[in-house]
């Protein structure tokens, strides 16, 4: 195993624990917004889509890159906006006393 792969694997394992730990106390009323928020975060695949699109030159790579960028951007933008719309509803009123 190369050092780079080993490093990546370390990040992966640590991120698993952080991911579980960080949301373990979420109240039921926030399940839907939280799911939607994490949905937006995996829109980071846009970074991957930009990677493959950047150097595109053949018709096939151009087509793949274009579709990947469209799909990934839809994921990011739609994900954050729809989450914000949900959470907007909680604005300006008292937070539930028993979260």
């Amino acid at each position: 195993m190369s050092t780079e792969l080993l490093n990546e694997f370390t990040f992966f394992v640590l991120a698993v624990f952080v991911g579980i730990e960080v949301i373990s106390k979420v109240p039921t009323i926030l399940h839907t917004p939280l799911m939607s928020g994490t949905n937006a975060i995996h829109g980071i695949i846009l970074v991957g889509a930009i990677f493959i699109a950047a150097g595109a030159s053949s018709p096939l790579s151009i087509a793949l890159g274009l579709v990947a960028v469209i799909l990934a951007t839809t994921n990011v933008v739609g994900g954050f906006v729809v989450t914000d719309r949900m959470l907007e509803m909680f604005k300006g009123r008292q937070a539930p006393r028993n979260p």
Partner: protein, 461 residues
């Protein structure tokens, strides 16, 4: 990669973690979404300077971002609050599709004999990303009612799925061990898409939130795998965070419905008969129906009324009408509260969002554990467009598909008023004994029309 970019990715990862943390508490949830979005902007901003662009590359990225941005923003802005769950499914699916396409592109780029450490995550990403894409589209179609929400089962279904899975495994091995040629990995993608459809078909519409959450975690993992292929730290960390938190969230949602995850995902097999039998048993029984005036009198002269809102209320857009009724009753000195079942609406937390939209005061919304003991002191439990969440079968009949699901104790109230469109069973497709209870009065019709009639009747009472 220079130090600056590594640090920028690290900052993005920290913002994602903080964002998730804030998203899981009511106070900071909205800020959490902004925090995560800031992380996203930083991650993308740090990526651009690292790359060498061709002219075509710049063009397709610009065009793609504009199209995707418009579709995403307009879709998310225009969607009705009631249709949010299927919108989330759609956004999740396209993310999975993007991950699969990036992996395909990388395999094309690697040539016939890629290093295992790079090919393996690509293959994984193609399989999981495609399943997530196709599965999310089926979930969308079910929730949007483009297709039936009831589980679709056929003989030999499990065998078909097993064969599909085996074929996928075969092509995966072919790509990794024999030769990475387009025929193999495109076949892999097509088979994974078919499996995604086959996986979601037998799951009922009511369980779609759990499925979407699971597919959300899948997309996260596909993204993390793509990160291994591209040696990109931001993708690995963000994808894994979503994969891990999404898996836990899936379990929490399943628990809120009182079911095990396996039961939710594979429960349809062999359950069809039981449902049909109980529906048949309900034929020809009498229910008591009331006029708006009867009900207005009952409500206006009660001391305590508990409203149990369900999806029917959301569909009829009756949030405002129900608030008007509640305010009217309060002016007459009736104590009104709302009992919110964890899965009221179509997703956990969905009903809170809908009622908040109609300016129902937060203090009146009570969660199940908080209010369940108060039903026995209530004069009226007003059930508006809900059904399964007050079905006593969940407590009493072990054969029922919803057996074990925690329910609201509406049956303990002195009177129960059911506002329903018809005697049709709820989303779980099973009959509700409570409808035939002597204490129950039915009021048939669209929730909004019924509530409007009730409001004018209460004004007159």
């Amino acid at each position: 990669m220079s130090v600056v970019f590594v640090l920028a990715y690290l900052l993005a990862a920290v913002l994602f973690i903080l964002g998730l943390k804030q998203l899981s508490s009511p106070r900071g949830a909205r800020n959490g979404n902004f925090t995560a979005a800031a992380g996203m902007v930083i991650a993308i901003g740090a990526t651009i300077p690292q790359l060498h662009f061709t002219v075509a590359g710049i063009a397709i990225i610009a065009i793609g971002v504009v199209i995707g941005g418009i579709v995403g923003a307009v879709g998310a802005r225009m969607v009705k609050m009631t249709a949010i769950p299927q919108m989330v499914a759609l956004f999740n699916g396209v993310g999975g599709g993007a991950a699969a396409l990036v992996a395909v592109s990388e395999l094309l780029h690697f040539g016939r004999n890629p290093a295992f450490a790079e090919a393996f995550p690509s293959v994984f990403s193609i399989i999981i990303g495609s399943i997530s894409f196709a599965g999310s589209m089926v979930a969308f179609a079910k929730l949007q009612e483009l297709m039936t929400g009831t589980p679709i089962t056929y003989p030999g279904q499990q065998l078909v799925n097993a064969v599909l899975a085996a074929a996928i495994l075969g092509f995966a091995i072919a790509v990794l061990a024999v030769a990475s040629v387009p025929f193999s990995f495109v076949s892999l993608m097509v088979l994974a898409l078919v499996l995604g459809v086959a996986f979601v078909l037998p799951i009922g519409g009511a369980d779609m939130p759990v499925v979407i959450s699971l597919l959300n975690a899948f997309t996260g993992l596909a993204v993390a795998a793509t990160g291994f292929t591209l040696n990109n730290f931001a993708l690995i960390v963000a994808g894994t965070l979503v994969g891990a938190s999404g898996s836990l969230l899936t379990k929490l949602m399943s628990d809120a419905m009182g079911r095990s995850l396996t039961n939710t995902l594979f429960g349809a097999f062999g359950q069809v008969k039981a449902g049909a039998a109980s529906a048949a048993g309900a034929q020809g029984r009498q229910v008591r129906a009331g006029t708006p005036e009867d009900l207005a009198t009952l409500l206006a002269y009660s001391r305590r009324v508990i409203i149990v809102p369900g999806y029917g209320l959301a569909v009829a857009q009756a949030q405002h009408a129900v608030r008007e009724l509640a305010e009217l009753l309060e002016k007459r000195g009736v104590e009104v509260t709302y009992a919110i079942h964890p899965v009221a609406g179509r997703m956990p937390g969905h009903m809170n969002v809908l009622l908040a939209e109609a300016n129902v005061p937060y203090e009146q919304l009570k969660e199940m554990d908080e209010i369940n003991d108060e039903f026995k002191d209530a004069d009226v439990a007003l059930v508006v467009g809900a059904n399964d969440v007050v079905n006593p079968a969940a407590r009493s009949s072990p054969g029922s598909p919803i057996y074990g699901m925690p329910i609201l104790n509406a049956d303990q109230a002195k009177n129960i008023v059911f506002m329903k469109r018809s005697m049709r069973p709820g989303f779980a497709g099973i009959d509700n004994e409570l409808l035939y209870d002597p204490k129950t009065i039915m009021f048939f019709g669209d929730a909004k029309d019924s509530l409007t009639k009730l409001v004018s009747a209460v004004k007159a009472a």
